[in-house]
Subunit: 217 residues, 2 copies
């Protein structure tokens, strides 16, 4: 199963490509912005596709052709300029969804943020609200796309080592979660079709990822 990782050079993306390359059933195609980011992925034996998310849908469609699933984990993270929030977190996500459809790739996993409901936009601080809005509309676009989607809403991301133990559900208490564990949740979701058409929040917890995903209703 070949996976296009959009945002491969991000912190979650790098963990994810590593995990995919360790898994005999999976093969990563890392979508990165430029050749300078390539060596990390070449060393892992990943395929490469050099595309900037601000290019047009056709460029992303070409990257998606022939893969079995797309993971969108690109993101400005809310710390870049607000123009990037619009152009990457929203428009980049929507273009990737359209590219998956154009390339006939049905499976799509979106890394969203913890709470992207309408109420979360209203209650966010004025500096954070545009990011929440971008993720809200990107998620909404995916829900209405007819793709086999999974939307993952991680808690507060840390660089701690992954524990493989999570709490996961439609409404969990806000908390931290290592990026490495989010990468594991993505990899496990790719191999678990019960996650199709679902979305869930994830924080650190006490269940194995496999067990937690299987318990999704």
């Amino acid at each position: 199963m070949e996976i296009l990782v959009v945002g491969a050079n991000g912190q979650i993306g790098k963990h994810l490509v590593k995990l995919i390359q360790k898994n005999d059933n999976l093969q990563a195609k890392a979508m990165i912005r430029n050749e300078e980011q390539a060596s990390f992925f070449k060393d892992l034996g990943a395929e490469l596709s050099i595309v900037d998310l601000e290019q047009d849908v056709d460029a992303i469609t070409n990257a998606a052709k022939g893969v079995d699933a797309v993971v969108f984990t690109a993101g400005s993270g809310g710390h870049t300029g607000k123009d990037k929030t619009m152009m990457v977190d929203l428009d980049g996500a929507v273009k990737t969804i359209e590219a998956a459809k154009n390339a006939n790739v049905k499976r799509f996993i979106m890394i969203s943020s913890f709470d992207t409901r309408r109420e979360a936009i209203q209650t966010a601080s004025s500096s954070f609200a545009p990011y929440v809005a971008a993720k809200h509309y990107a998620d909404e676009w995916l829900r209405n796309s007819n793709l086999d989607y999974t939307i993952i809403h991680p808690g507060l991301l840390t660089n701690d080592e992954g524990t493989g133990q999570v709490e996961l559900g439609s409404n969990v208490e806000r908390g931290e979660v290592p990026r490495e564990d989010i990468a594991s949740v993505i990899a496990s979701s790719l191999e678990n079709d019960t996650t199709i058409g679902k979305e869930f929040q994830v924080v650190s917890g006490t269940k194995s990822i496999k067990e937690a995903l299987n318990a999704l209703s």
Copy 2:
């Protein structure tokens, strides 16, 4: 026929409320951010609704209750901070669309920008692209809303006096158009149901607005 004008205190909004108040068949309800903006509209005999577009959908729904049409002509114009682009041009528009639905107001007129197609996002300068993207997604949301919409795509807006003469169609050559004429196009569209479910670009031209609207296919 009562019309909620969202963005009444903008330059097009002020022209529009004036035109509506001069028309015996129409009555304006000006949605403005604060009481300090009220006197202009009170002097015209318009009703008032004090709501900030960054408030929640319920606040806008309350403003829309009982009116016959909503006109969205609020906008950061691409010159404010990029956070306003997301929160007003996109999220404010979508909230207003949702408010119209909640208040059972079917008729909705959107003042968009000249070209909001996907290609226009890609070819815009990096500083203008987020604004084009915001308008693109707002228009798309409206098209999928089941409301009786009209989307007006004005050319380069000027403060020249209106001439009442326009060119109008799905694809006209880019050019200038006075804000006062755009207000006239909005007012005429409110009284012309052939504009329902349609969208068009408008620049200055040689046809009367009524004639140009009736010629829409």
